[in-house]
């Protein structure tokens, strides 16, 4: 059997290293912790979205040509390629389109034993076009009881604690 790339050729190329080799000091290491900070300009559409979140409301924008109500709001409709039209308030309730039960956090470490797993979901918000979803977390419900099509409602932070961010909604819960 002919082989252009053989095991011998490949084995010669790279040497493996394990976590233990590093811990035991078998290799010299250097560490760098970057200090990379940004202040993103959010523009009029996202800016209004965040300001309304501070007021305890969710706002979207309508594109009259495809008749979609866009969430998060955009200054232009990406499918019709034209500026969007009026602002439209939408409700803070919705339907779960899909969800996940996650036992790992963003650093790929396992959550501590006994802690409730994360349950992020894509939630189609009432009042926006069908299929217009946002990503958020679900809570106050047992993970096994979540199903696609479940109705949920937003749980807001108290007005004094809101800063104008997506986290002003603590999570969504079934109702």
């Amino acid at each position: 059997m002919q082989e252009l790339i053989t095991k011998e050729m490949v084995e010669r190329t790279v040497t493996g290293l394990s976590e233990r080799d590093i811990r035991e000091g078998k290799v010299i290491t250097t560490t760098w912790k970057p200090n990379l900070r940004y202040a993103w300009d959010n523009g009029p559409a996202l800016g209004r979205y965040l300001a309304e979140l501070k007021n305890g409301r969710i706002i979207g924008k309508r594109c009259r040509r495809c008749n979609r109500i866009l969430l998060p709001p955009r200054m232009f409709c990406e499918l019709c390629w034209r500026p969007t039209d009026e602002w439209v308030y939408v409700k803070d309730t919705g339907v779960v389109n899909t969800f996940v039960i996650s036992y790992i956090d963003w650093k790929a470490g396992r959550i501590p034993k006994g802690q409730r797993p994360f349950t992020p979901a894509v939630i189609e918000i009432d009042g926006a076009s069908p299929g217009m979803g946002i990503l958020h977390l679900l809570d106050e419900v047992e993970p096994e009881k979540i199903y696609i099509g479940m109705r949920v409602k937003a749980v807001w932070k108290p007005p004094k604690e809101r800063i104008g961010a997506i986290t002003d909604i603590k999570y969504f819960k079934p109702y």
């Binding site: 250097t30 760098w32 970057p34 200090n35 990379l36 900070r37 940004y38 202040a39 993103w40 300009d41 959010n42 523009g43 009029p44 559409a45 996202l46 040509r65 495809c66 008749n67 979609r68 955009r74 200054m75 232009f76 990406e78 499918l79 019709c80 390629w81 389109n97 189609e124 076009s129 069908p130 299929g131």
Partner: protein, 418 residues
Amino acid sequence: MGERERKAKKLRKGGDRERGFFQGLKDESFLERRFPMTKRVAIIGVGTTGFRATTPDLSYRELTYEAATKAYMEAGIEPKDVDAFVSTAEDFFEGYSIADEYAPDQLGAVLKPVYTVPGDFIHSLASAYMMIMSGVAEISVVQGMSKASNMLTLSEMVGFAMDPIYNRPLKEDPVFIAGMEMMRYLHETGTTRRQCAQVVVKNKRNALNNPNAGHGALIDVDYVLNSPMVSYPLTEMDISPHSDGAVVMVLAAEETARALSDKPIWIRGIGWCSDTPVLESWDWAEATYTRLAAQQAYKMAGIRYPRKEIDFVELNDEFSYKELQHLEALMLCKKGEAGPMTEAGATEIEGELPVNPSGGCLGVGNLFELNGGQKVLDVVLQLRGEAGKNQLKDVTTGLAHSWRGIPTATGAVVILSN
């Protein structure tokens, strides 16, 4: 139910989230097209938001949308006519990983061929050019954007590009690399600091007449030499301040270009080259990457005597001495001649070889990966006769050049003519 409602309902397809193929896809004709090999490619539309120090009122999406709308309008096309898009972005400059994710929406490129070139705008231009020349596209779009004002720890970010084992642990502000290079350049060519300062004076003055430029000023050579020292021999005024902005350009194959535009600007030659990134091996006085890129471009354009055939140049002058170094590397003058040329006024707008009539990076602002875009934009405007107060007379061939900034040794050159 009215016609519009019926159409909208059909597009939405009701409760099932199944999204049918929207515009750009319902019209699958762009997949049908097969183009004959073309000999030439032209730029038929450009759009920009202008360049200024901050843009707090707009996010990156709106900036690009504005530039794209202007470019498409000029070219007389809609996004559905475009066959391929190329965007320019570097992750850490944008502030999020995989910057190409956020490219299609504001270009009207949803579900169309799009990819990102982490390089200079002229690299993306080269990609779009090659796509048309290879027969896979007839109209392509190039985009670039800078949101430098959003980067709070800018010198750390630039320093993050240095070699992590050999250079970064020195914990120096990366500007020292430019300072070192300038020392060697001045030493080897005999250029003086005054001549470098002259570059700053010229470019900032040119920028005052450029409505797109963000950092025009009326200063003199002593002001430059006496401003605070940053990294000897670079003073604060020797270094370009940064700007925000976006540029979008539309390219088309010859036949389409002639049909859509009365003033197509032809790409006669294009070249790009990267020298080693290892600082310790650098050729400190010469910008070899520029020389090799220029050779490639001149060969393609059939130019044998650049000084005679190039009417004006827009090149990278991020640091004042760089304009002189690049001028020599572009073979537009001999080594060591650029300084005296500048002093004699040959590179002024009224001179025999205008350099950076738009104001260059020093006058417009450092746009990072968009730098090449600003240069090509200004060459196009000059060749079309749309450069306003800084308009040069009787120009037919212009050269746009770019360098990716410290700590790289990568440059690109494009030669355009009307």
